[in-house]
């Protein structure tokens, strides 16, 4: 009887929105964090693995990211989706690790943090994880090769525009234009997901 009640409790959480789960988690509900983990651990891990190319380090970082969500108030639902908070945090930490690994003490160029908006509604979250993956894959294939390549070099390897320019043997201005156009195109392709 009690076990059934627990199962029902967990099943109910599966239907909760990210924001509802975050609110429950902040109230000390460990199952809510477990549900968030089940929803996003794969996304966080695949990004960590892509940047770090090491399973152990990627697993360690995955734990770190969810522990951070549990222990800090850094995520604020009105500032953007939980998904983008998790990927932004994962990417930034993964690239920090990458740099400390290669002992390069360069100035860290960063992507901007989440921007606040007036609207708390988030159509992005209305799509299932599978729909999001499908949409983003489709959107990326629509980008011209150079634009996609430059975005991926910057995003996954944390290369600066001038490093990418050297890597691709292209003028800096051209690389900047590719990456900005790439992002604008990506955003345009993801229109229905974002608005």
């Amino acid at each position: 009887m009690e076990l059934n009640a627990v199962d029902e409790d967990i099943n109910r959480r599966l239907a909760w929105s990210d924001t509802e789960l975050v609110v429950a988690m902040r109230a000390g509900d460990a199952e809510a964090l477990a549900t968030i983990y089940d929803r996003y651990a794969s996304l966080v891990f695949r990004l960590a693995l892509k940047v770090l190319t090491n399973t152990e380090e990627a697993a360690d970082l995955t734990q770190d990211v969810f522990l951070n969500l549990w222990q800090s108030l850094a995520y604020q639902p009105e500032r953007g989706s939980l998904s983008s908070f998790l990927t932004t945090l994962t990417r930034s930490r993964a690239i920090d690790r990458l740099r400390s690994r290669s002992s390069k003490q360069r100035f860290l160029q960063r992507w901007s943090q989440l921007m606040p908006t007036q609207s708390a509604s988030n159509p992005f979250e209305a799509a299932s994880l599978e729909q999001r993956a499908e949409s983003v894959r489709a959107a990326l294939t629509q980008l011209p090769d150079k634009q996609r390549q430059v975005l991926e070099l910057a995003y996954y390897q944390g290369l600066s525009q001038s490093e990418i320019a050297a890597h691709l043997e292209a003028p800096l201005g051209t690389v900047k234009s590719w990456s900005r156009q790439g992002l604008l195109n990506l955003r345009h392709q993801l229109q229905t997901l974002l608005e």
Binding site: M25, G28, A30, L33, A34, Y37, A41, S42, L43, F45, R46, L47, L49, K50, T55, E57, T62, Q63, D64, L67, N68, W70, Q71, S72, L73, R79, G80, S81, S83, S84, F85, T88, R91, S100, R101, W111, S112, Q113, L114, M115, P116, T117, Q118, S119, F124, R132, A133, V136, L140, E152, Q161, S179, R180, Q181, L183, L184, R187, L190, L194, E195
Partner: protein, 282 residues
């Protein structure tokens, strides 16, 4: 400066802002526009969300199951941060082998920069003094939350240490448990201690004192000599006073009593490269 630029170049600046590649001149132009058209922030967020969605396109892989177990075990001992600040907790001996402990060190280095850049960027986006004040408040609150989190992690570390002590007692009750004594390589250095191991059991307990201090990014590694091959048994760090009390779980059971400890510069070593600081007494 008073003139507004057409939508298309403006989009370009918004993208450059999210990508972090604006020149100082472009930053100034964008700041001007954001002051005139606060609604542009919505577009900025869409661009940020689009960029942050890129990892969805990566092939689906799942983290190993132990990550979830470890996470849930860790949070069971650490309450989530709420806005109230915690009372000081007596500092426990740090056990860096647990997953949460190293992350704390990173957080200390990472947070000021992250918060600093966040404050700078949001101030730029809005160009409003009251936003700055709010950011100061958010920063202060985040700092308070961070301090609470650190104290809670200390508590978690102390609890992990208690668990290690219980493991040690359980091991000492086993008739086959063996003690391997380690001595310092530098005869003048006072490092000493023991490794407790039970044949057939992958868990070992390492208890050492007076270890030389590590530089940031360095780890101690325990190695077992298995038929001439050095096998990594795990990595750990020491307290500020050079004390170690950790439980390591070996990848495989080991019967080797020939052990060594080295200092390595990477958390992912598979063969020793750094200087040996301790070795088992023959």
């Amino acid at each position: 400066m008073a003139d507004l630029i057409p939508p298309e170049p403006l989009q370009n600046l918004l993208a450059g802002y999210v990508l972090g590649d604006l020149t100082p001149e472009e930053t100034e132009v964008l700041q001007h526009h954001l002051q005139q058209q606060p609604e542009l922030r919505v577009e900025l967020q869409h661009l940020q969300e689009a960029l942050a969605a890129m990892p969805y396109a990566l092939p689906v892989v799942h983290p190993p199951a132990h990550v979830r177990d470890r996470l849930l075990r860790t949070i069971a001992t650490v309450a989530p941060v709420d806005s109230s600040s915690g009372q000081p907790v007596v500092r426990g001996t740090e056990v860096r082998s647990i997953a949460s402990a190293p992350s704390r060190r990173r957080d200390r280095q990472h947070w000021p920069f992250l918060l600093g850049s966040m404050a700078a960027l949001t101030a730029l986006a809005l160009g409003l003094d009251n936003w700055r004040l709010r950011q100061d408040l958010v920063t202060a609150q985040a700092e308070a939350s961070r301090q609470t989190a650190l104290l809670r992690q200390d508590l978690a570390a102390a609890e992990t240490q208690l668990a290690s002590q219980k493991d040690l007692i359980a091991m000492l009750q086993q008739p086959t448990t063996q003690l391997v004594t380690l001595k310092s390589m530098d005869t003048k250095a006072p490092a000493k201690g023991n490794v407790v191991m039970t044949p057939g059991d992958r868990a070992v307990i390492v208890a050492l004192q007076n270890l030389p201090p590590l530089q940031p990014g360095q780890y101690y590694y325990l190695w077992a000599n298995e038929a001439g091959q050095k096998v990594a048994c795990g990595k750990f760090t020491a307290t500020e006073t050079g004390e170690v009390f950790v439980k390591l779980v070996l990848p495989n059971t080991s019967n080797s009593k020939q052990l060594a400890i080295t200092v390595e510069n990477s958390p992912t070593m598979t063969a020793p490269q750094g200087p040996m600081v301790m070795i088992s007494k023959s």
